[in-house]
Symmetry: D2
Subunit: 155 residues, 4 copies
């Protein structure tokens, strides 16, 4: 029953040009003594924010000239192993695919060389607020990402 994650190639440390270093907080850990699963999406969100700062396209202010915000439309997460209280993690972030109005982040949490959680989140560019008309991914974002990445994003 491997069907939540078919044909899955797992994230490799070497594919990431950006890592955020962080430490697991007491607040993140549950009764099993491990990071409670929803927190990996928070780690991913933080890594995305820091990635955007690192490439020179800080969220959300760099999007404002384009009248755009970004909204997550889907996430896929593989939980491979458990982080524990006080663990030092490296959270890699990269843009792995860019479409016309959306792009996909790959974010992976590692403890040393060990992959713990592997996240793919697709964001759509759209007008802020209720209506959310889709907008093209800003060319400037594509340019800074392509200049930054080790693995060229799929188009």
């Amino acid at each position: 029953m491997a069907d939540t994650a078919p044909n899955r190639d797992l994230s490799a440390l070497a594919d990431f040009a950006f890592f955020e270093r962080m430490r697991v907080r007491w607040a993140d850990v549950d009764m099993q003594g491990i990071v409670f699963n929803p927190n990996y999406l928070i780690y991913a969100d933080n890594a995305m924010t820091e990635y955007m700062r690192a490439v020179g396209f800080p969220y959300p202010q760099a999007l404002q000239p384009f009248g755009a915000d970004i909204f997550a439309v889907g996430s896929q997460i593989d939980f491979k192993a458990s982080a524990r209280f006080d663990d030092e993690l490296k959270v890699g972030a990269r843009v792995e695919k860019i479409g016309r109005t959306s792009f996909r982040f790959r974010i992976a949490a590692f403890r040393g060389e060990e992959l713990l959680a592997d996240v793919r989140t697709t964001y759509v560019c759209a007008t802020p607020g209720e209506t959310r008309s889709t907008l093209p991914v800003p060319e400037k974002f594509i340019a800074v990402v392509e200049a930054f990445e080790k693995v060229k994003p799929e188009r």
Copy 2:
């Protein structure tokens, strides 16, 4: 770029035999005025717990005679629309697939008839603690689930 969720059939209200009713808390909402994405995994976790209670297999105590705990190994989430502060939600939960040592929950948050978030999480049965040897899904769990569900789980 619909590729985080190919061939996707979305959850329908009518497929769920169980719903948890809940209200969006101030704590769950972000600067965009909408529920921050990781919280849908918390909603899903709560709904799973309440489902287990409803079918008469309460988590975690019903697993203990089997020397088993369950661990999420993968989640897929479609974010279809945004819940807002104070919204009343119905969160449907059902077991949609049962394998030898794992099973998959489908959990979907609705506001009225509107699907907001659609979650699939696969859990594996294993020994508690560090080692995690996989164990068969308890027959008793399969029996209570099959007796409870409107849509028979795939095997």
Copy 3:
């Protein structure tokens, strides 16, 4: 060294005209198997919201005609005993003191008759946004609270 809580009279069940019933979530519990302390402030916030709805002064919309929002300026919490996963709690909320531009909520979490956490939070009424000029507590709020409470708020 009882000096974080000098001469403290503890909350009594009988003093509350309003209770919110809730269940401790897996997400709220830490490695010690007990509710992690910051969550009691979230429980208090939820109970405050439900209290405002119950008295007919729903937050935040009832404040808008007064051009006001409310901001917490101080909290005091006594942790008396620990809630655990799946515990059913009654969270009492009452307005115990009303000043010119601020008021104080008393919020207490009980498991059965047992007091677990006792919170006092002072809110100030002020203009929304950065500037926050203080505003008088709306007379309408005072009226609905005084009509609702069993223990008359101090003035």
Copy 4:
């Protein structure tokens, strides 16, 4: 109605020998665009953990030889100003008072020189688990704290 915070002397930057540097996460911010209050207790908890590491008495392992754990019994928080998304904060932590079986942490969040939140939390030393018999504050902890602090803790 300044009575949640009577005669209060506020935390000063210069009193702290230890600071944790951190950045406000998207997850921490609410619909008002400011850090939601309960998160300051999480910041305080993180700063406490890092302080314990910095003085050479890491939590929780340094307590284990004494058969002790620590439990928060009370917190007092002054909210002075609001942190916002992406703010860089310095969170000062110091032990300001040591009793026979308990001690009090003072933890204050600053943005530059500006005090945002000022927390006092009293912890009691006790046996782990349900029973919680109080235990003396370990002499070793007192020694490392007194050697580390700029402001000598009250006794």
